[in-house]
């Protein structure tokens, strides 16, 4: 079982620079989900807007232009606009992804449909409350270092040493940006409301290898040793296929399942 295929897929993508020059000046058609639950009489609809494509245009740029020119009420979330903060997850032509780093030139027919991420509470239009979801996930998994020694640390003294390889390995798993794409791509999550999902599993995997964290396998079993946890995963791997950070979800879920299964007996 390998987690490498996602990395290769990214590398095989053709050069965007060449593509974007070729498609300059096209007319793009945006089909955007519109619904404001704050307004009682409002009903969900799909609204279409057309825009002239600019070189290097991203969905971030396009949505801002649409808001300014056509619909001042249009709701969406961007913060960093550089693919690191995880605010702008949405369903782009059927797949969850980060809108800020998606170039319009990626879509050959110039038609781009945008829907809010499912599963999360809808704030309005393309804006969903991932923050609330992630805070509750963090509270459930307790995504912090559990250590009794931590309380007695003298900050003036040399830090505890850590193997460089281990630090690198933790960082690899620490790169999750909590964008929610894995949750939206997960069929199990649709069926089981309390299912933790890949974002939670990758956190468990991250703290599980961290030698600063004292939690045992038995402790982790309480968090993920059920159908709401790692045994509920149907292994469809929507998480792995749609993770914007190419995190090794498949590998880590399999690892945690083996570990938890061993712990159960």
């Amino acid at each position: 079982m390998s987690s490498k295929h996602a990395h290769n897929a990214t590398q095989d993508k053709p050069r965007i620079q060449e593509k974007r020059i070729a498609v300059e000046g096209r007319t793009l058609e945006f089909r955007i989900f519109k619904y404001n639950p704050q307004i009682k009489e409002d009903r969900p609809t799909i609204v279409t807007h057309t825009l002239t494509e600019a070189p290097g245009m991203t969905i971030f740029i396009a949505l801002n232009e649409i808001r300014e020119k056509f619909d001042r009420s249009l709701q969406f979330d961007f913060v960093c606009r550089s693919g690191i903060c995880g605010s702008c997850g949405m369903i782009i032509n059927g797949k969850p992804g980060l809108a800020c780093r998606t170039l319009t030139s990626e879509f050959a027919d110039g038609v781009i449909s945008l829907l809010p991420l499912p599963v999360f509470e809808l704030i309005g239009d393309l804006s969903v409350n991932t923050g609330k979801f992630m805070r509750s996930m963090s509270e459930k998994v307790e995504t912090w270092i559990h250590s009794e020694q931590q309380k007695q640390i003298d900050l003036c003294r040399l830090e505890e040493k850590m193997e460089p390889d281990l630090a690198d390995e933790i960082y690899e798993l620490d790169r999750c940006i909590e964008c929610g794409c894995c949750i939206s791509a997960c069929a199990t999550k649709r069926m089981r409301d309390q299912f933790l999902g890949a974002v939670g599993f990758i956190k468990v995997a991250r703290f599980e290898i961290d030698t600063r964290d004292n939690r045992s396998d038995a402790d982790w079993y309480h968090v993920i040793g059920s159908d709401e946890g790692v045994f509920g995963c149907m292994a469809l791997m929507g998480c792995e296929d749609n993770c914007p950070k190419d995190l090794p979800h498949q590998h880590k879920i399999a690892y945690l399942r083996r570990k938890m299964a061993l712990n159960a007996f």
Partner: protein
């Protein structure tokens, strides 16, 4: 009217705000954090290359200590920082790194033995010490004597912010996100909290608190192209300004980062050059050694940005449809290094430019990046003029950066200021009672409600998006890297008339609840006031210092300008801020003004400089021969740090020396 009462109210859920909240909550005070976004999405997450702290574990950092970090920081500031604050900072930075290590940041660690690095475009082998194996590593950054920037690949801010927010969650600190503070509540000159708008429901809520800390970041989005997140619009500083009581400091000190990608302005870290990357012009020629033979690409940020602009003005820029740019070349670092240590840069190049930085040059240009200015505070983080109001991080002018911040010193400031200011906030909560009148609270909420009603009811008027764009263009064109009197004069006039127009904004979308246009309409007049503080400060300062470069006044003028700009907005109906100045006392400086070592030294000296230098020489001569560096330092300048952070820092091979 909904009212929430707490001890410690923190506005801003980034690194600085969260750390202040952790401090006050840990001391037993009820604490609430307000944030525009979920805390983990704050702009702190965008810090790439690392955090400075003088741990000295890597061999290229050996011999580093607080004194060297202090000297780099003071020089970097072009001598306008508060040296006492810089001392507090350098002493606490190693503790901040170590604290974050216990909270889970997977800092990159030193690996024993030989490894190949690129220094000054040459491959060199260095050997890390056996005994340092497993300690926190550091990379090189601009304007520093030692390798001091601790990191996790180029996602340092992300790792730090996640560890910090997780710690806040562990402590049960509530983060009220998607909430915006739109005015401060105050009585008899004392801050009592904030009027807050819920960005989903539109509800106005009064948050009443003993201590209110603004940690909402910088004001980069006053400019049309900035590396900053789109939420960095300076609203925290603006609501302080609008009290008419709190003052802002050094607003004209705005940093341009040398290497943001063209055209979108997304940052590629200074770590690119720290790890050995170089700058090239349209001929592929490496030009920085011609301008700065000693530090080359690793001169301080303000210097590199100016040299790049100068070089492009000579016609050496690469022409593109988005204007001229230069090339950042990191190909010499190799694929393996880029994939591991500069992977965000690699992703940014891939997604936004369609290039691979292991084989292609990156198109870059100096771009607005950091706000040295902010809410003027004492060393405790408390406003100098408004009790009960504190500020920390980029939102503050605590003043460790003066007129130019060193790379790696900003995330360091967020964590360190959070620790220090957080203690003083807790002290304030411990020694003050909250006495508020509901009539005062209602008065402030009513003012905001009335403003919002006016915006929703006005049927014709100005377009808020147009006003914002015009402001950003004025700032970009006329208050940028190189400044001059005539341009600044015209910027001030344009901004004044935009401010006037902003009183007549009419919005198309009339919904009182979640409404992005209304959010803009609330913010833009505030942003215009901030823009005026920047432009007026820049126009008045007839010298060049750090990031403030006046082409009509190229000298650093210590004689007349060794002073901090203060600005306030006394009359809410006025169309201009009021400037005043706070002189720095050379006679109490640990390092009196000198040359930064870039270009020619054309400083107009202050008469006290020579006197203080002589005094320091005499002090050194009078020291016992066995005096250690702590004794010498305390003889030169005294400073305060909260008791729990006063200890000396241990280093490998040095102990506590």
């Amino acid at each position: 009217m909904k009212t929430v009462v707490t001890d410690s109210l923190v506005i801003g859920g980034g690194l600085a705000g969260l750390r202040v909240a952790i401090a006050s909550q840990s001391r037993g005070f009820d604490t609430i954090v307000l944030s525009l976004t979920p805390a983990k999405r704050s702009h702190s997450a965008a810090a790439q290359g690392g955090m400075q702290a003088s741990l000295g574990a890597t061999i290229k950092g050996a011999g580093d200590n607080e004194d060297v970090h202090f000297s780099d920081t003071v020089k970097g500031s072009d001598w306008l920082c508060d040296q006492k604050v810089a001392r507090m900072f350098v002493n606490t930075a190693p503790k901040a790194i170590r604290e974050l290590a216990t909270w889970g940041v997977p800092w990159s660690r030193v690996r024993r033995g030989e490894r190949q690095v690129v220094i000054d475009a040459e491959k060199i082998t260095i050997t890390e010490r056996d005994e340092a194996h497993g300690l926190i590593a550091a990379r090189d950054f601009g304007g520093t004597k030692k390798w001091r920037t601790c990191y996790t690949s180029d996602g340092t801010g992300h790792s730090m912010l996640y560890a910090m927010d997780n710690k806040a969650i562990a402590l049960g600190i509530p983060v009220h996100d998607r909430k915006e503070a739109i005015a401060l509540i105050h009585e008899n000159g004392i801050c009592q909290g904030a009027v807050v708008r819920d960005l989903i429901t539109g509800e106005l809520i009064a948050y009443v608190a003993k201590a209110t800390t603004i940690a909402s970041g910088g004001y980069g989005r006053l400019y049309s192209v900035s590396t900053n997140a789109v939420i960095c619009e300076g609203i925290g500083a603006a609501i302080a300004l609008e009290t008419g009581i709190a003052t802002l400091g050094n607003m004209e000190a705005v940093q341009f980062h040398p290497t943001a990608i063209v055209p979108v302005g997304i940052l590629t870290t200074e770590g690119c050059r720290g790890d050995g990357g170089i700058l090239r012009d349209k001929d592929g020629y490496r030009f920085m050694p011609d301008y700065e033979p000693e530090k080359k690409e690793l001169a301080s940020r303000d210097v590199v940005s100016r040299r790049m602009t100068e070089h492009m003005r000579k016609g050496k820029g690469v022409a593109s449809r988005y204007g001229d740019h230069l090339w950042l070349d990191i190909t010499l670092l190799g694929k393996q290094h880029i994939n591991k240590e500069l992977r965000e840069v690699k992703d940014i190049c891939h997604y936004f430019l369609g290039i691979d930085p292991a084989t292609d040059f990156i198109p870059v240009r100096p771009t607005q990046h950091y706000s040295m200015g902010g809410i003027r505070t004492r060393y405790t983080g408390e406003s100098t003029s408004m009790p009960g109001l504190f500020a920390a991080g980029e939102a503050a002018c605590w003043d460790m950066h003066g007129f130019n911040r060193l790379g790696g010193n900003s995330v360091a400031e967020t964590a360190v200021a959070g620790m220090i200011v957080g203690e003083y906030v807790a002290d304030y909560c411990a020694t003050h009672t909250l006495n508020f009148k509901s009539s005062t609270i209602e008065h402030f909420v009513d003012i905001e409600r009335q403003k919002i009603d006016e915006l929703l009811n006005r049927s014709t008027g100005e377009d808020v998006f147009q006003i914002k764009k015009s402001m950003q263009k004025v700032m970009m064109d006329k208050v940028g890297i190189f400044r001059s009197g005539d341009k600044l004069e015209s910027a001030v006039q344009q901004l004044r008339s935009l401010l006037d127009e902003s009183k007549n904004i009419a919005i198309h979308n009339k919904i009182a609840s979640s409404n992005p246009e209304l959010v803009e309409a609330i913010r833009v007049p505030k942003m215009l006031k901030l823009a005026l503080t920047v432009a007026c400060g820049a126009l008045a300062r007839t010298e060049s210092r750090g990031a403030h470069a006046r082409e009509d006044f190229p000298e650093r003028n210590d004689r007349d300008w060794l002073k901090r700009t203060l600005v306030n907005w006394e009359d809410s109906q006025a169309d201009m801020p009021t400037l005043s100045y706070e002189p720095l006392d050379i006679m109490t400086m640990e390092i009196p003004p000198g040359s930064r070592g870039y270009g020619i030294d054309n400083t107009i000296p202050h008469p006290d400089t020579a006197v203080r230098k002589k005094q320091i020489e005499e002090m050194h001569a009078g020291m016992p021969p066995n005096a250690n560096r702590y004794t010498i330092q305390s003889a030169l300048m005294s400073y305060e740090v909260p008791e729990k952070y006063q200890g000396k820092n241990e280093r490998i091979g040095e102990g506590f020396k």
